[in-house]
């Protein structure tokens, strides 16, 4: 028997939000997803007054997708500092795609770095079908055309752009106080995932 169906979008998707200072996000439908939904998102750090720091945990699956390998390399070569953008595409995982996939993921980062005037400071993530090549013509055009903003709608669209079969976008944001000084800081989190979920990341 099936349990009572609940409206998860209404229950779990926030209607407003406060987001961390000096981050901007952009999203776009490039046409990679057959249904025309948003499928490309970029988050960028616009703070020029301090060096950012970054970290990541990655799948321990022996067959790591090209964007996993590329992001790990970017983090390590930058010594976990000065990473200022993350580009994510959905609809195609760019996994099991060999040298072509690696070149495509490099190209995604290169295009974002060029657009934002960054030097190898972009992480990349992909999600979707395994074993298919990225449609780089569409993604390249998308990166070129994408516009940035920092409103609630921009953040929500960013969360939507990384979804695949998700039944609702996952976006949360909270403010906290540093105990020692009372200074306020904000955490915002975006995730996607619905199936193929039992991560063991390191």
């Amino acid at each position: 028997k099936a349990a009572v169906t609940i409206d998860k979008y209404a229950l779990y998707v926030p209607k407003t939000g406060t987001f961390p200072k000096k981050f901007e996000v952009g999203s776009l439908a490039t046409g990679v997803k057959k249904n025309g939904n948003l499928d490309l998102g970029i988050i960028v750090n616009t703070n020029k007054d301090a060096k950012s720091t970054a970290s990541a945990v990655f799948t321990t699956n022996r067959f790591k997708a090209a964007p996993v390998l590329k992001s790990k390399q970017v983090l390590e070569s930058n010594n976990f500092k000065d990473v200022n953008a993350i580009v994510v595409n959905s609809g195609c995982a760019n996994s099991m795609t060999g040298e072509v996939g690696m070149a495509d993921t490099e190209k995604m980062c290169e295009l974002v770095n060029k657009k934002l005037n960054l030097k190898d400071q972009t992480l990349v993530m992909s999600t979707g079908v395994i074993g298919q090549k990225l449609q780089m013509d569409k993604i390249s055009k998308g990166i070129n055309d994408i516009k940035f903003g920092s409103s609630y709608e921009d953040w929500l669209n960013m969360a939507k752009s990384i979804c695949t079969t998700d039944t609702f976008p996952k976006l949360i944001s909270s403010q906290f106080e540093l105990k020692s000084t009372g200074e306020l800081y904000t955490l915002t989190g975006i995730a996607k995932g619905a199936g193929m979920i039992c991560p063991n990341m390191a």
Binding site: K1, A3, I6, K8, Y12, P20, K21, K22, F23, N45, D49, K51, S52, T53, A54, S55, A56, V57, T59, T60, N61, A65, P67, S71, F80, K81, I86, A93, S95, M96, L123, M125, T127, G128, V129, I130, T165, T167, F168, K170, I172, L178, K179, E183, Y185, T186, L187, T188, G189, I190, A191, G193, A194, G195, M196, I197, C198, P199, N200, M201
Partner: protein, 227 residues
């Protein structure tokens, strides 16, 4: 695939952010299961841009532990949303394995229960089939059985609303509770959120894992993913 990121305007050192994300990830995203499958792309990243103008948080800063705790609890909220989605899941289930000899054993057992297709279909069908839970505990791939003593094992369902009795013991000291209130079991299993507690009573470590039921909808969605 699980993808996600946490961004903050805090200033955190590179060593600090690595430690915080690693700690938080181990207790959040690495403690969820929808279907037991691990992707080739799973990635969670964290970015701190220092726009809050605080003194940089390092591992030895007085605020470090508090920030790490906040990020962990925040990451748990985000991870739990993934389970609540679950491609058609109708139940959000917290599996708590408590009083274990080691955290590692508690986690392996919690994960095994969370990944069991038969436990998950029973949850979907709202069937108080504790035998499947016990079975999963027994085949957990533990390095040894130091955390497991059948005669000390308790299994119970716990209601997450305000209804009473909150706890429904199904197995007590390894012996089935013959007086289990099936009507109450049905009430608890009808909740969208519920908790399974497995007390090993061999130590003091514990682990929470979050899982969901396995629904017809999951099969429908994943039956034609590529097309």
């Amino acid at each position: 695939t699980l993808l996600g990121y946490i961004v903050t305007d805090l200033s955190i050192s590179s060593n600090g952010i690595k430690k915080i994300l690693s700690f938080a990830g181990e207790r959040s995203f690495n403690c969820i299961s929808v279907d037991g499958d691990m992707s080739t792309n799973d990635t969670i990243s964290m970015l701190a841009n220092g726009a809050a103008n605080n003194k940089t948080i390092d591992i030895d800063s007085s605020d470090f532990e508090d920030v790490a705790a906040n990020v962990t609890s925040f990451a748990q909220q985000l991870a739990q949303l993934v389970v609540r989605d679950g491609e058609g899941a109708t139940k959000f289930v917290t599996v708590n394995v408590t009083k274990s000899k080691s955290f590692a054993d508690a986690k392996i057992i919690a994960e095994t229960i969370s990944n069991s297709s038969l436990v998950k279909t029973a949850l979907y069908g709202e069937d108080a089939n504790w035998g499947r839970i016990l079975c999963a505990v027994g085949y957990s791939k533990l390095e040894n059985f130091a955390s497991l003593d059948e005669s000390k094992l308790n299994v119970k369902f716990v209601a997450t609303d305000d209804s009473i009795p909150k706890e429904l013991p199904l197995l007590i000291n390894g012996v089935p509770n013959l007086n289990v209130d099936e009507a109450r079991a049905s009430e608890i299993l009808a909740l969208n959120d519920l908790e399974i507690v497995v007390e090993l009573n061999t130590g003091s470590e514990e682990c929470s894992f979050w899982t969901c039921d396995l629904s017809h909808e999951y099969v429908t969605i994943n039956g034609d993913y590529r097309s």
